[in-house]
């Protein structure tokens, strides 16, 4: 059974839920730009964005009264959003590895 959000926490829970996705994307964006432009300073901002995500997951867990199984969902979110951009980046690099030159005006598909 679930323990519904307290009335006083509805807004905090909704904002925290939105921030999880928003900062998941900002972390992914900064992570990708840092690697693409080879600018380590962006990676620091990426990790700061990830830190906000972790805080947002924490607020979500508290306001939504996450216990037992629901704590596992929170852990999956924290780990999943950290790992996903790295995996996707590696997939990108792998799928583009045969692209000639810098990729501008790439080869036409068959």
């Amino acid at each position: 059974m679930i323990d519904p959000v307290a009335i006083s926490n509805i807004l905090a829970a909704a904002v925290a839920g939105a921030l999880v996705i928003m900062f998941g994307a900002i972390y992914a964006l900064l992570f990708a730009f840092s690697r693409l432009k080879q600018r380590p300073v962006l990676m620091i901002w990426a990790y700061l964005a990830y830190a906000v995500l972790v805080v947002a997951v924490g607020v979500l867990s508290i306001t939504l009264n996450m216990r037992g199984f629901w704590q596992a969902v929170a852990v999956v979110m924290v780990v999943g959003y950290f790992v996903a951009p790295r995996l996707i980046w590696n997939l990108c690099a792998g799928t583009h590895s045969t692209e000639p030159g810098d990729g501008l005006g790439t080869v036409r598909h068959s």
Partner: protein, 483 residues
């Protein structure tokens, strides 16, 4: 190939069918806005058109017009690319044309019945001939059978064309997805007096269409669209299509559970729905990384600026509408208060527009370009492209404005009606009279006008863009000479 004038000689057989579907889709898009505006006005003036065109009818036409125009848009998009992708002629062009007219006629009859025969008690006969009573898919059962038959004919045409020509990763995913698309509709045709059971199967159609099969269909269209507008390589888009399908189906199918929280289904759906709903945004985050990677390697040299702009709007709209607005209220602890309120309507408006309307509009711009003989549609258009830019801006600002306004009303409704007053009848009316709710509805109306203005401008632009152009489209796969 003639240039600038709309000339069907520029199109192959599949594309000739496609432009018919696109035309009806745009008419229905306008109808969706029109009836949405009427329903929105009735929130502000409940007596407006009372007993003439009631709110329940306007809302039903608004929602059904959206579902049907998107279906028409998807069918048109697939017909548009089928010959190009298979490398052969459409096997049943005549059948496709007959199918189009039957489907369009059936939709017209259903809409006329919606508008003129929505009175009297619901009986088994009304389920067959008037209204099936299931939100989003209210079409009576005779029309259900017609829709399934038309989709099967469409499926036959597409699958047989690929079988005659050549298969590709995109076509394989597309054909398998069409099987699921047609098959799932059958789940919405059961009749049962048990409301929980009815809702259980109804969600198979709604959720598994919208958050699984439609997403994959859009993935196929996007993959093809990126090859055409950006010159992306087939191997790359196909690989990404497979990954996207795996992520979408992996999280989306059991994400169905978030619709089973409050309809009388067992409690284990809380666990399943909560877990998979948390995973559903991951494909969207994956797209962010991929988009950055691709922008770095392709530099956005493209042959069709309006189409690419709408594809970018799709990426953002899908992320915010489905991802952010979805996860905000999807876990059961908060969904207890938010489901079925204006909060849900807020999510629905941004998600449907962002994920689906945008990409269909992009495909229609690609179609218009070819219809006018591969006319120039990059930068420096004759009229500076003000119509497509303004329609893009008005539509996006309008829909985002409606989304925020509905969120404010929805928050107030969740708080007062659900959390404070425990979902009582009195709580419902109490929430409807709160200042924040009413102000949200006024703002929604204002942004509804902005959206409608955007639709009108879009239709005008689609009818005229490239008309005075004399240049041919650029080939995005050719690298320009550098100085």
């Amino acid at each position: 190939m003639s240039i600038a004038a709309l000339n069907s000689a520029n199109l192959n057989a599949g594309q000739k069918v496609a432009v018919k579907y696109f035309t009806v889709a745009m008419v229905l898009f306008f109808a969706q806005c029109l009836f949405g505006m009427l329903a929105g006005l009735q929130y502000l003036q409940p007596d407006f058109l009372y007993n003439v065109l009631d709110f329940n009818v306007n809302r039903m036409v608004h929602i059904n017009a959206m579902v049907v125009w998107m279906l028409f848009g998807f069918i048109g998009s697939v017909y548009w690319l089928v010959e190009d992708e298979s490398g052969t002629e459409l096997v049943g062009a005549k059948l496709a044309n007959v199918n189009f007219w039957i489907l369009t006629l059936a939709v017209t009859v259903v809409v006329l019945v919606y508008l003129f025969v929505q009175t009297g008690p619901g009986t088994k006969e009304t389920i067959w001939f008037i209204n099936e009573g299931r939100e989003y898919i209210e079409a009576p059962r005779w029309a259900d059978f017609g829709i399934v038959a038309c989709v099967l004919i469409f499926f036959y045409n597409v699958a047989a064309t690929f079988m005659k020509g050549k298969w590709s990763g995109i076509s394989g995913v597309l054909v398998l997805d069409l099987v699921a698309l047609a098959g799932l509709y059958l789940a919405g045709m059961f009749y049962t007096t048990n409301i929980s059971m009815d809702q259980h199967w109804w969600w198979w159609v709604i959720h598994l269409w919208v958050e699984a099969t439609w997403e994959v269909l859009v993935g196929c269209i996007m993959a093809w669209g990126l090859m055409k507008t950006l010159g992306a390589r087939r191997k790359i888009v196909t690989t990404w299509l497979y990954i996207e399908v795996a992520l979408m189906f992996g999280s989306g199918i059991l994400g169905l559970g978030h619709h089973y929280f409050w309809i009388g289904t067992p409690e284990y759906w809380f666990t399943i729905g909560g877990f998979f709903s948390a995973l559903e945004p991951i494909p969207l985050v994956a797209m962010v990384v991929h988009a950055v990677y691709d922008s770095g390697t392709h530099n956005f040299r493209n042959s069709n600026h309006p189409a690419l702009a709408w594809l970018i709007a799709h990426a953002f709209g899908n992320f915010f509408g489905a991802g952010v607005w979805g996860f905000m209220h999807t876990l059961p602890q908060i969904n207890l208060y938010t489901h079925g309120t204006q909060w849900t309507a807020s999510h629905g408006h941004l998600a449907f527009f962002g994920a689906y309307a945008t990409i269909i509009i992009a495909m229609i711009y690609i179609a218009v370009q070819k219809w006018r003989g591969d006319v120039w549609m990059s930068g420096d258009l004759a009229d500076k492209g003000w119509k497509w830019k303004w329609s893009l801006g008005l539509l996006n600002v309008g829909v985002v404005g409606m989304t925020v306004a509905l969120l404010i009303s929805g928050y107030e409704q969740s708080f007062v009606e659900r959390a404070l007053e425990g979902s009582t009848w009195g709580g419902y009316f109490s929430a409807q009279t709160q200042p924040w709710f009413i102000q949200g509805m006024h703002w929604r109306m204002l942004f509804g006008w902005v959206t409608t203005a955007g639709v009108v401008l879009l239709l005008w632009d689609l009818a005229t863009i490239g008309k005075k152009e004399t240049r041919r489209a650029i080939d995005p796969t050719v690298t320009p000479a550098t100085t």
